[in-house]
Symmetry: C2
Subunit: 265 residues, 2 copies
Amino acid sequence: MTTATLLPTQPADIRRIIRAGEYAGVTAGLANGHVQANLAVLPRELAFDFLLFCQRNPRPCPLLEVIEAGAVEPAFTAPGADIRTDVPAYRIYERGELAGEVQSVADLWRDDLVSFLLGCSFSFEAAMSDAGIPLRHQEAGSNVPMYITNIATQPAGIFSGPMVVSMRPIPQEQIVRSVQVTSRFPDTHGAPIHIGNPDAIGIRDIDAPEFGDAVEIRPGETPVFWACGVTPQAVALNCKPPLMITHAPGKMFITDRRDADYAVI
Amino acid sequence: MTTATLLPTQPADIRRIIRAGEYAGVTAGLANGHVQANLAVLPRELAFDFLLFCQRNPRPCPLLEVIEAGAVEPAFTAPGADIRTDVPAYRIYERGELAGEVQSVADLWRDDLVSFLLGCSFSFEAAMSDAGIPLRHQEAGSNVPMYITNIATQPAGIFSGPMVVSMRPIPQEQIVRSVQVTSRFPDTHGAPIHIGNPDAIGIRDIDAPEFGDAVEIRPGETPVFWACGVTPQAVALNCKPPLMITHAPGKMFITDRRDADYAVI
């Protein structure tokens, strides 16, 4: 099994190794400067409602690409790739329950499956790092803390539920800069959803995130919250679709597109 | 019949007058500071493909809201409004052919119709005016010139075709500013598609626009092109859907949302 440090730097080369089953690890730090994506695959009869859900909730669900039923190539974000094999690990959910984790879904692919690629926070975290804003969870080598809020998403068809947010402690003198820097990337969650008061968005215990790992908030730092790509998965699973396939946590689809391609200004 | 100068200034009040059949004119200049929208209504069986077409072509097709089949209220952008009656005039197309222009489509409404509201250029034109950038077509009291280009849109299902652009002559020293100002509004067409060379995007005669009116390009000015909301209508009609309803040219749906709500930064 290849380790992350031995991997090439270009997206297509990394995807080839993943496709061959030779790398099944996390993708943070791989193909630096390129956009990574969350994956959600649903049967066609749910596709209009899920697409509309994403349109209505662009902060938690920024759509990068939709691969129509009958196709498996992300023609816009990664021409030549195969969405059935090029993610390091997939999770299979049946009626909302985890049924397995696999390195390829080629065996169980069907012609009625529609694939949704959604932006993830790696892009704006790179921009924050470039701006000298510290990222506590990266320093700690842990996963970003994520919380279920009392902010309702805008429903579409059967899809509804609360927004999930990620939290990063920001030194007070860098909060304005963190808003500016992330605002440039609306396709990868964009500007913060909330600054400062966890209670105001229904977070009772900042030290007990629903997903990921708690991080220290130091004196002089303020918790800042961004919409999180876990939201669409949580919402979709909540409605218990007969079949849903996602990437495994932290093991994203690596596109050919550059972070800078998605900066609005 | 009420004239534009006698109309109130608030969107809901104007919509009430339009609904009562007392105003059927153009909406430019009405409810200043509020977002106006292009309308496209299609039967449900085409809705997924059209929604996906918009997702793939956000510059010409910036989706503000989708009203699902069975509903007629734009709950997000104009709560309380009725999409069947609150546009000054509608065009009815059957198999791609204009079949009539009416002030209400309440009579012919069906439960399987899905309504798409798309951003229009009025928002970014207001921002350009505020920045002191001249708008020739407004000075001339004419419609903005629009051209069919050789830029292909990204197809989705049955929908495909060339991008339509609008053109504004910009003094060379204000081109950078016009890029900056319009980039802030990706939901109302955003930054220019092309600067300077009509030929490069397949426009053979700048004095013969396919839609709207030609405008003078003065010495020291450069033609600058933006994606145009006529694109989705042209593309949809091109595929000859059994029924399609749109707003009549220049007679838009006035939302409650403010231009500033859509500025990304």
